[in-house]
Amino acid sequence: MTAAMLAEAWVAMGANRLRTFLTMLGMVIGVGAVILMLAIGQGAQQQVEASIASMGSNLFIILSGSTTSGGLRMGGGAAPTLTLADAQAIGELPSVAAAAPSSPGTAQLVYGPNNWSTQIMGTTPSFLAVRDWKLAAGFPFTDSDIRSATRVALLGKTVVTNLFGDEDPVGKTLRIKNSPYMVLGVLAAKGQSLDGRDQDDTVIIPVTTAQRKLFGTRFVGTVRFIMVQADSADAMPAVERSINQLLRQRHRLREGADDDFSVRNLTALANTAAETAQVMSLMLGAIASVSLLVGGIGIMNIMLVSVTERTREIGIRMAIGARGKDILLQFLLEAIIISVIGCLIGVVLGVGGALTVNQLSGMTIVITPESIVMAFAVAAAVGIFFGWYPARKAAAMKPIDALRYQ
């Protein structure tokens, strides 16, 4: 019975190929758009999440406060109030995974005939853990390098490319401000940060080397900022409170006096970015869904025309014994076949389109099986939903009226 109905639906669809094709096109475009938009949206989301992960997770940054010098107020981070000892004390707080004191600066690098200016980060080995930064080659410096302020360096990918070209830099010696530094390792590529900086254009050296030998400090042992990583996202509020307490104690601030430092939660910013990407992904999906709806209405429109055109045929079928539900099933099957085939073509075009976008623009795309399954389910549902009313209309005809219809 159903096999016969399927065959008949197929014949009916073949009878007016152009119309069937145009009806199907509505579904093709709808499903294709949904797949493509979801692929792009989820790709963007994944890219944002990757950038966030590259920054490190559960992070605080502690900056020293501002200072006033002869009526000039310097910006935040200018007061020399944070020290290496502060960083060490924070590192010993409960729920703190690591704390990395940082003294950044900029200097000219020279290797052979090449030179390159870049940001140089003086810090401790825990910086790599806090930033979740792996080494692509070589090995990191250690606490003993910190103690003895050795001239060693870890190079970012961009620096390696500009100074060494294809040469392997590990074990080589380059010059920073005319002093020789040995390259211990190369940092794994991280790509762009959320604000567009090239994170790989950097050199990491021991914090003590930076303070004593490269940049110098006005007060011995002070650092520009301290990066702190909490054990988990849940522990962050407690960690923030204990850092505040600890630093007020260590800096001997009286009750009611302003903090001479500020603690900033970097995760909050990252979460906002992630949420934005998610909202964008949802919005793209929603816009594409509208075209799916339009496709469904197209099917309903054509099915209504088809029912009217084939009224006489319906009458003949009823006269020779078709029940209302046979007629209903026949038209419903036709609508479902159109939407499911349209969906199949739409999936192929959507996936193809997404791959093309990826090829042409290098945009990250993510095609999940869920989005394809969802597109299919929606297409079948659209077929049933929009096919139901015309099919119902056909089935409810009186045999004699249908047969007399001219």
Binding site: M1, A3, A4, M5, A7, E8, V11, A12, A15, R312, E313, G315, I316, R317, M318, A319, I320, G321, A322, R323, G324, K325, D326, K398, P399, I400, L403
Partner: protein, 244 residues
């Protein structure tokens, strides 16, 4: 009440009205007819006499306003639309003036169509259909489409379709109305053969006296009433006229 209990058709005091803007218009008034198995009945009457309405009610395509209609032992008035469809499928074979074949389907699919609604599998369906096409002399045209054969041949395909479910009753509404004299004779010979050899009961509407002459019994309708019901040989000449 006349007729045996196993009558194919028993109609008692049937009324039919159509509702129009001007109020109800009566079309059939107090019609009582009984058809026994194996009869060949011609229904005649002028246009507007209600003969088409009468046939539609006989065929369970339309329902009477009042009165009783028992088809093959079942009271049609008590049945729902699915059961009516079942009766049309199993008990009745229709032959229409306009053939009413499906233009897109080939002849064997057209003839096999009623079997779809009985749930017969495709191969068996086609076997039956080919058998019926051979029976009406069109075995060579199984795969042709209706527009590739002549009108007389199309009507024979329609008869094959009416026969495919082995019905007790064939209802033919002006079956020769669109055919020339020669093909009309062929088609009527086929009806006669079905009636005499297979014992199928036939009720045929026509307005041509020479077509009606193939039947054994005449029912004459005028203005919604039966004015003659009896052997065709005894009918008055005016009862065999197309208009009166």
């Amino acid at each position: 009440m006349s007729g045996s209990p196993d009558a194919v058709i028993r109609i008692e005091q049937l009324y039919k009205e159509y509702l129009t803007d001007a109020g109800p218009v009566p079309v059939l008034k107090d019609v009582s007819v009984t058809v026994e198995p194996g009869e060949f009945v011609a229904v005649m009457g002028p246009s507007g006499s209600g003969k088409s309405t009468f046939m539609n009610i006989l065929g369970c395509l339309d329902v009477a306003t009042s009165g009783r209609y028992v088809l093959n032992g079942r009271d049609v008035g008590m049945l729902g639309s699915d059961e009516l469809a079942h009766l049309r499928n199993q008990v009745i074979g229709f032959v229409f003036q306009g053939f009413n074949l499906l233009p897109r389907a080939n002849l064997e699919d057209n003839v096999g169509l009623p079997l779809i609604y009985r749930g017969v599998a495709r191969s068996e369906r086609l076997d039956h259909a080919r058998e019926m096409l051979a029976k009406v002399g069109l075995g060579a045209y199984n795969r042709s489409r209706p527009n590739q054969i002549s009108g007389g041949q199309q009507q024979r395909v329609a008869i094959a379709r009416a026969l495919v479910n082995r019905p007790k009753l064939i209802l033919a509404d002006e079956p020769t109305g669109n055919l020339d004299t020669a093909t009309s004779k062929e088609v009527m010979a086929l009806f006669t053969e079905l009636n005499e050899r297979d014992g199928i009961t036939i009720v045929l509407v026509t307005h041509e006296s020479d077509i009606a002459a193939n039947a054994h019994r005449l029912v004459r309708l005028t203005d919604g009433r039966v004015i003659y019901d009896g052997p065709i040989q005894h009918a008055a000449p005016e009862h065999l006229e197309a208009t009166s």
